[in-house]
């Protein structure tokens, strides 16, 4: 029993990581006033490209970098569309989601004609001594590198957002862009950068899933986690520390389902367990108090006067 709980807890962190990372990126963009609903699509493409690059080059770092690069490309396009041209963000985001899914499928169908890429997923980083602690040791001190990276990123974002002047500018751009403009800052340039950075985070998260966690790609690999990242941000009230919690809860949904899947059971149980992370997330969605407001200028394009 303890063993099962430990394993659910310890496997929840690698499952939390991509949601958290993508969520952090989305948080940056949304605090600046731009929502990106295309995260799922971006993650689909970046996870595929990262895997293919890692497979053909043998270089994991290059793979992760290319995933980030994919995020950057999509981010540039999306930022241009919703910040510069001021297209409706919900529409553009949805279309990017569909676009990304189909681009990923297209490239994947081309690739598998030649080879089916697969790599070894990243191993756990074991922190000596502490990892021998009962339960906590396995859960917190024996995790793949990207888990620690994601936790570090939470800290970085928290500091940057709340303790630096750039963070203040970002937060204000999402609440009251006029005030930011009055202070002499180019609001749309700031939003543009935040969107691109956010998208790069999403790209990184996609790479984490394919290269870091599972070592291969298939259609539907992302399985809604891009959307869950967006939900996690809202549930967290756009706060990085809370985002850690909300992503972890969602990660737990996946790890519990994965753990249940290893139990004996028939076909019905198998598919039922697969639905669990989503059913679970519906309950998590209930945690969004109806009256909580996001950044006041979220989805509102800023026009220079």
């Amino acid at each position: 029993m303890i063993d099962t709980i430990t394993s659910i807890l310890s496997s929840s962190l690698p499952l939390m990581a991509p949601i958290l990372i993508a969520g952090l990126g989305e948080l940056i963009a949304e605090r600046a006033g731009v929502i990106n609903l295309g995260v799922e699509g971006i993650m689909s493409v970046s996870s595929l490209i990262a895997l293919v690059v890692t497979y053909f080059s043998g270089d994991y770092a290059l793979g992760f970098l290319s995933g980030i690069g994919v995020g950057a490309v999509f981010g540039l396009a999306y930022a241009f569309i919703v910040v510069t041209i001021a297209v409706n963000q919900l529409i553009a985001g949805l279309l990017f989601f569909i676009f990304g899914q189909n681009i990923a499928s297209f490239i994947y169908r081309l690739v598998i004609k030649y080879q089916v890429p697969s790599v070894n997923p990243l191993p756990n980083v074991e922190i000596p001594v502490v990892k021998e602690l009962p339960i906590i040791g396995r859960v917190f001190f024996s995790q793949p590198l990207y888990v620690y990276v994601s936790l570090f990123l939470v800290f970085v974002i928290r500091v940057v957002l709340h303790k630096t002047s750039w963070g203040l500018a970002i937060r204000s751009a999402g609440e009251n862009p006029e005030a930011v403009a009055a202070a002499g800052i180019n609001v749309n340039l700031l939003r543009f950068i935040c969107v691109v950075v956010g998208s790069m985070f999403a790209g990184f998260a996609g790479a984490v899933i394919s290269v870091g966690y599972i070592g291969l790609y298939q259609t539907g690999l992302i399985a809604g986690r891009g959307w869950l990242a967006i939900i996690a941000v809202i549930v967290a009230g756009w706060n990085p520390i809370n985002l850690l919690l909300s992503s972890w809860v969602l990660g737990l949904g996946f790890s519990t389902a994965a753990s249940l899947l290893t139990l004996r059971g028939g076909i019905a149980q198998y598919y039922f367990y697969l639905t669990l992370p989503y059913v679970f997330s519906l309950f998590v969605v209930l945690l969004i108090p109806g009256r909580r407001r996001g950044p006041a200028a979220l989805t509102v394009p800023y026009k220079r006067r």
């Binding site: 279309l95 939900i231 598919y271």
Partner: protein, 345 residues
């Protein structure tokens, strides 16, 4: 005269730009695959309109898109963002299929089909109730709830297809076929099933509802300005409920005609993403039923054409979807560009 001309240009020019954009992307993709773009274009056109088989295939795809996009457009008009169409059509398929199988041969064809139709609508409604309740009672944004449900629905289908309803004769998991009685009849003189007609009827009904009835007026009022609508005495909650139920019902019909009309079995991944393509079509058609009809036709041609490209040149069919989304993105960008001044970086 000048104003008419100007607004005509403002409506049509984005489409021209969209068309150019998709042609450019088509050329880019084909040349990077080292294929002849002219041959590609030729196959695209032949496979979508070249012979009676292709044309009928195009109409079948068109009917799916018409239903999906109509479902989306009516929900948006009413201020309810239903992006759960993919899930709702799965539920429509699930319930229509189950009803068809359970009735078996006991009733007449008409009754069986009618029962499947009703069951399908129930399925769609089932899948919209949770987002609807969450929105009305807890003010939770329906975008996320409807989207999450999209991921659950295909798992139910997978369970049915690999479990209780599996056809033991097939190596690849597939459900046992529905009885012949439950199959939609064909339009005389063609190989098209009446589901195609149904989609046009639904589209017309939606246009009529929105343009010619008081309910349509309420829907549009609530969709554009709920605060003002409420002040005018319109029951906003009731209208939201009605719009979302309608939207989900229409979406579910796409699943109904796919099962009872097209394939006659339930399969995993039976949907190529109609729910999402429907959203793109609705946006392309500028959220009006006539535009949506034309956009559906055009997109359906791209899909049939894409199938042909896949067979003849080995290009993955996803190229059709990429072109579709590229086109609507370009159109949307062009529309925004023309209607407002572009903010400078």
């Amino acid at each position: 005269m000048k104003r008419i001309k100007k607004s005509l240009i403002q409506t049509c020019l984005p489409y021209g730009i969209g068309l150019v954009a998709s042609i450019v992307i088509f050329l880019l993709i084909l040349t990077s695959l080292k294929l002849d773009p002219v041959a590609g274009l030729k196959y695209l056109i032949i496979s979508s309109l070249g012979d009676s088989f292709s044309i009928q295939q195009t109409f079948i795809y068109m009917s799916m898109l018409v239903l999906a996009s109509t479902a989306f457009l009516i929900s948006i008009k009413g201020g309810f963002i239903n992006i759960g169409i993919e899930g709702q059509l799965h539920l429509g398929a699930i319930l229509a299929y189950t009803t068809s199988i359970l009735i078996g041969e006991r009733l007449s064809s008409f009754l069986t089909i009618f029962a499947a139709f009703t069951a399908s609508v129930v399925g769609g409604i089932l899948w919209i109730i949770i987002p609807l309740i969450l929105r009305i009672m807890l003010k939770v944004n329906e975008v996320f709830v409807t989207m999450i449900l999209n991921f659950i629905a295909p798992l139910i289908v997978s369970w049915m297809v690999t479990g209780p309803f599996r056809d033991p004769r097939m190596a690849h998991p597939q459900s046992i076929p529905i009885p012949v009685l439950a199959q939609l009849p064909l339009i005389p003189g063609t190989r098209l099933h009446v589901g195609v007609l149904l989609s046009f009827v639904v589209c017309f009904f939606t246009w009529f509802l929105l343009q010619k009835t008081t309910w349509g007026m309420y829907i549009k009022a609530v969709g554009s300005n709920p605060v003002a609508a409420r002040a005018m005495g319109i029951d906003v909650e009731k209208t939201t409920v009605m719009v979302s139920l309608l939207s989900a019902s229409i979406a579910s019909l796409a699943g109904f005609i796919e099962i009872n009309g097209n394939s006659h079995v339930l399969m995993e991944r039976f949907s190529i993403g109609w729910g999402y393509l429907g959203i793109a079509v609705a946006i392309l058609g500028n959220l009006n039923p006539l535009g949506v009809l034309l956009a559906s036709l055009f997109y359906a041609m791209l899909i049939s054409g894409g199938r042909g490209l896949e067979i003849k040149l080995g290009v993955p069919i996803e190229i059709a979807f990429i072109l579709q989304v590229a086109m609507v993105l370009a159109v949307v960008i062009a529309r925004s560009w023309f209607s407002e001044k572009v903010s400078k970086l």
